[in-house]
Structures are given as C-alpha cells and as structure tokens.
C-alpha cells in the first residue's frame, strides 16, 4: 500500500491557479488512497464541494478502481461524460496514479495528495515506511522488519548511537533495531545478525 497524505486546501488552490485552466475533474483512487481515506469517494465528494465553494469550475468527481492502471482511464471515459470538456485532472492518488493518468489522458494532471512511503494497514492501524524499494530485499535477516526503511538512518548493522530504551532519536518513533532484536531474540535467531552487512547497491534500482 502506498501511503499518502492530503495537501491543504490552500496548497491545492494555489496549484490550480498556477497550473490548471478550468474546468477540472477530480479523480480518486479505489485502492490505497480509499483505504487510508485520502482519496476515496468521501474525500473526492468533499473536495469537489469545497472547490466549488471557492468558486472553481469543477465538472465532476469520480473515484476509479485503481488510478495506477490503464483501465482507470476507460472507467473514467465511460462514467464521466464531462471528462472530454475537462481542461485538467486533480488526482487524489499516489504519485504513480497521477503520473499514469497524465500519460493516458494527455491532459494536465495535478496531485491532490503527497506520497510519503510504502506501508500497510491492519484495520485502521496504518503502518508507514515498511519498504523503501531498495531493489535487493534481504528482510529475512531482520525478522521481516526492514531497517533500510524503518530506520531513518537506514542502519543495516545495528542501531545508531541515538537508540535509547527502544526509542528512536528521531522524534516520537520506536527504534526499529530494538524490535528486530527482540523478535529475533525471542525466536533464538540472533545469530542472523552476526555478519556485517554491505551497503545497498543503489545501481540495482536502475
């Protein structure tokens, strides 16, 4: 799941003024953004209302099944008759959805959300930053708890000096290394951490 957070209405209004001729359509995404309530039906409808209350010409708003897929465009074309008149799309999805809709539609697209990380949801409990897409997944060593993404300093050989009583030096979070250590310890698998790990090969992501 891609984690997104809403831009403020002020940011959206400034962006619309700068980059988008009206009229516009608002598009939401039925997968991640709906699940974490940043781009589901409710958010699309309320943003359409809010933009109209600011005097903007909004033709329609629609949540597609998944913004990051070509089928989203077919769905929009079929179900939003006004789409052809739209001069731009304001998209409530992750950056991938925005980018993809921009490519297929040939129209200017504007992001209504900020994309922050890959995470997951356990019911209402949203976990952020579970993977940073390093291109060489070795999370088996770390009891499935990825330090490249879960640690702000991406420490792969143990905690930094700021780890204290299970807390991270970077405000308000737990040190992922404390969790890795506890989990492996409880499984009798601490020896997995004995070897010094090499740094990430960043060229593997190219």
């Amino acid at each position: 799941m891609i984690i997104t957070r809403p831009k403020t209405i002020e940011e959206i209004l400034t962006m619309l003024e700068k980059f988008a001729p009206s009229p516009i359509c608002v598009v939401g995404c039925g997968i991640c953004a709906r699940k974490i309530q940043t781009g589901g039906e409710t958010q699309v409808t309320s943003l359409v209302d809010e933009l109209r209350s600011h005097g903007l010409d909004v033709l329609d708003g629609k949540m597609v099944k998944h913004a990051c897929s070509a089928t989203s465009w077919d769905e929009l074309s079929e179900e939003v008759p006004a789409l052809a008149q739209a001069s731009a799309l304001l998209v409530l999805s992750c950056g991938a959805g925005v980018s993809l809709l921009g490519r297929i539609s040939g129209k200017p697209v504007l992001p209504g959300l900020d994309t922050t990380s890959i995470g997951g949801a356990l019911g209402d409990d949203i976990s952020e930053g579970l993977c940073s897409m390093c291109g060489e997944c070795d999370v088996a060593i770390y009891a499935g708890l990825c330090p490249k993404s879960g640690c702000p300093k991406s420490q792969v050989n143990g905690p930094c000096g700021g780890s204290s009583d299970g807390d991270c030096e970077v405000g308000g979070r737990k040190c992922i290394w404390a969790r890795i250590f506890e989990t492996l310890d409880s499984r009798g698998l601490l020896a997995l951490l004995d070897d010094t790990r090499p740094p990430v090969c960043h060229d593997r992501r190219l």
Partner: protein
Amino acid sequence: MGFADVLDSGKFIITAEVSPPRGTDLSGVLAESHQLQGLVDAVNVTDNQRAMMRMSPMVLCHRLEEAGFTTIMHITCRDRNRLALQSDLLAAHALGIRNVLAMSGDYPTMGDQPSAKPVFDLDSVQLLQMIEKMNNGLDFQDEPIDGPTSLCAGAVANPGARPLALQLLKLNKKVSAKARFIQTQAVFDAEVFHEFADVMKSTGIPLIAGIIPLKSARSARFMNEKIPGVTIPEDDMRRMEAASDPVSEGLEIAAETIARIRQHCRGIHIMPVGGQGNTRRLLEMCGLD
C-alpha cells in the same frame, strides 16, 4: 608521536574536543585551542556536530596540525555518500591528518538544517571497512588507489544505551572492522561505565571515556532529556541545583567521575561546555596536567 603510537604506548590518553566556527573566521577557535598546547595527546574536531552547520573539520584539523597538534577528524555518514567519504579521506590524508573518528551522525532534524537530505549511504561499520581498505591501498570497490592511506580510525559507543546487548551488536562489528579505539558518549555514572568496560575488556580495544563538565542545572536537565543514553545521576543534579558556582561544581563532579573510572579506561576525552580554560582547570584538578 602519532595518535596510533600513543594508543600503543600504554600512556593514559587525554583528548579534547573543539568545534569549527559557524562562519569563515578560524582565529577564535585557534586562539582558544592554544590553551590545550602541551596538555592533550590529540584534539578532536567535530563534523557538523548535532547536525548543526559549521565549517568542515578538515580545515581546522589542518590548521591545528600546522600549529603542532595531533588531530582526530570526526567524519559522519550523514552528509556524504561513499564517493564523498573516500574523497574527503584522501584529502585529509594529503593534508597530514592521520586520525579519524567514524560515526553515523545525528539525524538532520536534530539540527539547524532540518530539511537536509539524510545521506547515510554507509553506516559507521562500513565506513571503518572503507578506511581499512584504503589503508591497504584499495578503494571501496577494491580497485587500487595511488598509494595507501595510513589512517588510524576510531569509533564511538554509548555505555548508557539500553539494552546493552543491542548496542554491542554493532560495537562488536566496529571492533571486527578494525576500529583502533572506542570513544564513548559522556559518562556521568561510573557504575554504568564499569559495566561497559568489563564487557569490552575481552576485545582489548582501548576505551576513551567521554567527559562533559556540567555548566548549569539547566544544561544538565537539557542533556538528561535531549541526549540519548545520557543519564545524569539525581545526586549530581541536586549538587548542580544547589551550587553557588555551578561551573566549578560541574568541574568538581567531572573530576570525581574521572577518578572513579580512571582504572577502567585507557583515557578520557573532554568535551568542554564553554572555553578550553575549563579543560585545563579540570585536568589540573585531576593531576593530569
């Protein structure tokens, strides 16, 4: 005598810390450092300490070396990828700097440029491995460089970090990566340090204990709350609160700590809060001048 020789000599080691200026003028810090002349085995120069922007430590190390000091250049992984780390190590070596202290570095949000990109391409263990390779005439990709470096690299540890076993996980890797010495976070609780020194004894690695003389009750409270792994004992807090001359009381507390841990470490590293005149005073109080 180079710092590597001091480490080998068995002498009680004394180092002190200075920070580069937050501007272009080195005259103040050079004059201040002058007070350390003949008093310390080496001067540590910090690298954007606590993620606060300052001049590169390489320049200050160079000027201090010219003035006759042995320096230990701090080098963090926060601001440089592996290209820049190697490049800076070669440059430091070319300038006559022979000692470095490898560390991850505080996170940018702790400092005055909170939006900076946190690099952390390597961690401190991998940085030590990089230095070892360069000392063997190889770059990080194992390709030959024109002449090996001869850098004596130390690492840092925090005796107060809990759980200790978690801290040791990485510390043991630093030892395996050929760290020549371990410099610790500020020690206030001698018992905590003794426990740490006991655990590290089998590695044989020299421990240099960090010492920060407290300056005021307020700064002591700040350190207690804001510096991970630093716990100032209640008793010391009370003494600082009651003191009519807090600076002297802080030096007194530091001198007592040094006396208690002296037999358990190879040396001390003084991080003065305020002028280097206090470093001199403290060493005099300990009979180490």
